[in-house]
Symmetry: C2
Subunit: 491 residues, 2 copies
């Protein structure tokens, strides 16, 4: 089974696609650019979603739901937003079909043309701020801390499963505040929630930083981002949080009466992560044998495979396995007993390896005699024999160890793929030959940024929040710079 996967060294993007499809995470659909998220992929997404949802609620947010459709005119209200979002999107123009009078199936009923076209939401700032206008009168109505889990559509020309699809699932937080300080604090709080989630749950190291002006969200005053590094040396933007200033409040005329009795525009943030995280998860940990999952996000953490020649052996093994499973369940470990009788153990091993199950336990007649089990960990592929009486404790510790090890391994990779450069020649050489994160001085202008992008395909991923001040010179123009930025080619 593992043989079916293209290796990373041979063709990295084919490797990625093979894993997504063959581990049963997702597949393309009959609709251009839209994917089907298959049960196994969706089960992982559910675990991510549930944990994020808990973290949002712990930080005081509530969920709500706003319409899928947005009137076209709403996009024209915020000048920068229209440029960024109103272009490549799905446009609903009619609301009825009818039978073709020539008997050829069904056709659009031209009598049912909408007066104003509706856009399938690419993001919901406009419709939400249009709603907030009716919810907010005074400072007593603030803050509003709302999140929405939803599908959105952006008509992408080149799509890749999870990483860039026309329709994707996401959450979008939209908050309203009485003061600028509060809104900035909220935007920073949420990028840090994303960073904690990435590190602790996805076992994925991320840089937390600010976007440069030209990489900002359309309509934002400031965009915070978490940036991860994939195994091919390309960066992946994994989540963003925006301080929107009063831009949307002004566009939708949302004012409040402040404590001093004056009318003031409301301050805003928005923040989101999407099913793109699934792509990041796959690319951060997986290997040439298939998917590798951090235990905290694995739908099944431990799979048991019986090795037997006849029903009697199977029955003895099953008794032992069920006892062990019950012990593991009481510790909160999820397990699966793969006793399908139409597949051989070798096939099962390969399949669970492909699907990234963190721990595999094989038990055969000899193990029954000796009171042992063979325990294999997916991250390192190492195996060990463990006494059955210690199996539960061993596995609980092992799952924790795998979670830590995956993070450590990814962090080491990122650290060894991050270099400081002080000349444009060196910059070009690193980007072309090695990839990874490049820390370089930049004069702060969009022109220089654009030139670098054109010549190297590298963009400024972020200026990390914890990047120390350091006097230097822009690698392109030689103009003074106070601080390095992080450059990389990106997904």
């Amino acid at each position: 089974m593992a043989k079916e996967i293209t290796s990373r060294s041979e063709n990295y993007s084919q490797w990625y696609n093979d894993i997504v499809v063959k581990a049963g995470l997702a597949d393309y659909s009959a609709v251009r650019g839209c994917m089907v998220i298959k049960p196994y992929g969706y089960a992982i997404w559910e675990k991510m979603r549930d944990q994020l949802d808990r973290m949002f609620k712990e930080t005081g947010h509530q969920n709500a739901y706003f319409p899928l459709f947005i009137p076209k005119s709403f996009f024209s209200r915020e000048a920068a937003h229209v440029e960024g979002f109103a272009k490549e999107c799905a446009v609903v123009t009619h609301y009825r079909l009818k039978n073709d009078p020539n008997g050829k199936g069904i056709i659009v009923d031209e009598d049912a043309k909408l007066e104003e076209e509706l856009i399938v939401r690419p993001t919901s700032e406009t419709i939400i701020w249009n709603t907030y206008k009716t919810w907010i009168q005074s400072y007593r109505d603030l803050p509003i801390l709302i999140n929405q889990w939803a599908n959105v559509v952006r008509w992408e020309m080149r799509t890749r499963l999870f990483l860039r699809t026309a329709e994707f699932l996401w959450q979008e937080g939209h908050t309203a505040h009485a003061t600028m300080d509060e809104a900035v604090e909220e935007a920073e709080r949420m990028i840090n929630v994303y960073a904690s989630f990435a590190r602790e749950w996805m076992a994925m190291p991320v840089l937390v930083g600010r976007k440069s002006e030209s990489e900002r969200f359309a309509g934002a005053v400031d965009t915070y981002t978490i940036e991860a590094l994939m195994q091919d040396g390309k960066a992946l933007q994994a989540g963003t949080s925006h301080f929107l200033g009063q831009n949307f409040a002004k566009a939708f005329d949302v004012k409040f009466l402040n404590k001093e009795g004056q009318q003031e525009y409301v301050w805003a943030t928005s923040w989101g992560v999407s099913t793109r995280l699934m792509g990041a998860l796959v690319m951060t940990h997986s290997d040439d044998n298939g998917l590798v999952l951090p235990p905290k996000l694995a739908p099944t953490q431990v799979v048991f495979v019986p090795i037997y020649k006849n029903d009697e052996e199977l029955s003895t093994i099953t008794q032992v396995v069920e006892k062990l499973r019950a012990q593991l369940h009481s510790k909160g470990v999820t397990t699966y007993y793969d006793n399908r009788d139409n597949y051989k153990p070798g096939f099962k091993f390969a399949e669970h390896e492909m699907r990234g199950v963190p721990v595999r336990v094989a038990i055969g007649p000899k193990d029954i005699e000796k009171g042992t089990a063979e325990v294999a960990r997916r991250d390192t592929l190492q195996k060990q024999f463990v006494a059955q009486e210690h199996l539960t404790d061993t596995i609980v510790a092992l799952l924790d160890d795998i979670q830590q090890n995956l993070y450590k391994r990814a962090l080491e990779f990122r650290e060894s793929s991050t270099v400081k450069v002080d000349s444009y020649d060196e910059f070009k050489k690193v980007i072309a030959e090695k990839g990874g994160f490049v820390m370089a001085h930049w004069d702060g202008t969009p022109e220089t940024e654009a030139l670098i992008k054109e010549e190297t395909k590298a963009t400024i991923r972020c200026i990390p929040l914890d990047m120390p001040e350091e006097d230097g010179k822009c690698i392109v123009t030689g103009k003074p710079s106070k601080r390095r930025a992080i450059f990389a080619q990106a997904y």
Copy 2:
């Protein structure tokens, strides 16, 4: 605050709308027929969704996600389905907007016209069966037991919050089976899951039955339904489960190799409930003071309101309240301490009554002296003084009692609103004057059903699965009938 609600006797549908809006459940949006589900309404929906999701998983189902868009031609494949579903729906014809050359905002880019129009899913049988074709080869791939939580769009001309909106949230199960018996069993299993959920969680009695041919889902061989009775004597279809036979398998050419080595079409079911359940919940239990919620679905089960004149009193009360809340939390009870200092107790009482919080506890200085608290239940509005030391046990029992009482009350209402009639004159009189469920003999023909509908606006809600055989004569044609059907006017 309660004064703002129209009474049921004055105007039932205005009463409903007042509750939905004023209890903060939902509101209309800027997009025709689309609603905004507000945080409080969404929190109730989340509780319903989470419990249904657990019940689906316990019965072996997995979640997945399929595209929002369906190619227009897919609807023409299944003859009955196209008639039922492909008409009033949102049609995407273009994928790009551009700046108006005359400088007036943005316009649809006519160069970006889709070759084939896409329909925003009104239901997903077609796109899912088109996918299943690639997943199913042999009996080993069956059954497929998949559910999807999604938004769908049906372009309704007359909309009402939750009950009938252009966009709504729902779940749709889509299963594939090797045999007819298995598929029928699945369709029946799921209607019974819905019935249990309605009774045990929503405290809403439902009839479980089959639809007549003309009320069947477009493309189904058999449609099962749960039907509830609202306080105005109208029926509400609260969930349906369909045995689809091999109709969609034939339309999308989905065959499997059976155990005998022969190619056979796959058998199918689909089943769904939607945010319409929110409307059913509101109309089943609420009264002229506002929303009434069954404790199992209430986001906050107990609200504490302090009665105080100064900070010292408040501080003493707060200490007692926090101790009581901790005790309740340890029993799994959700609470809220309404210590907002800019609202008076009377205002808070009315607000929580409006929002249907099942139990309210008020504590003032006298209660502190005596070690008591005033406990009010929302369903009957009765109050009692309870010793603080017994408060937790009392409330745990009270929540259970409220849950039972709401079901009992609704069941009594339904029973007193269900009558047997044996003549068409009596039928017309009951439907016109009293409403409710009417059990009558019917000759089994769509013609008679259509006549009754035209003359009385009553439709056959279902033929209950447990309806006993009984020889009788059709109330309209006098032709023989084996069994009564349930008629009612309906939402």
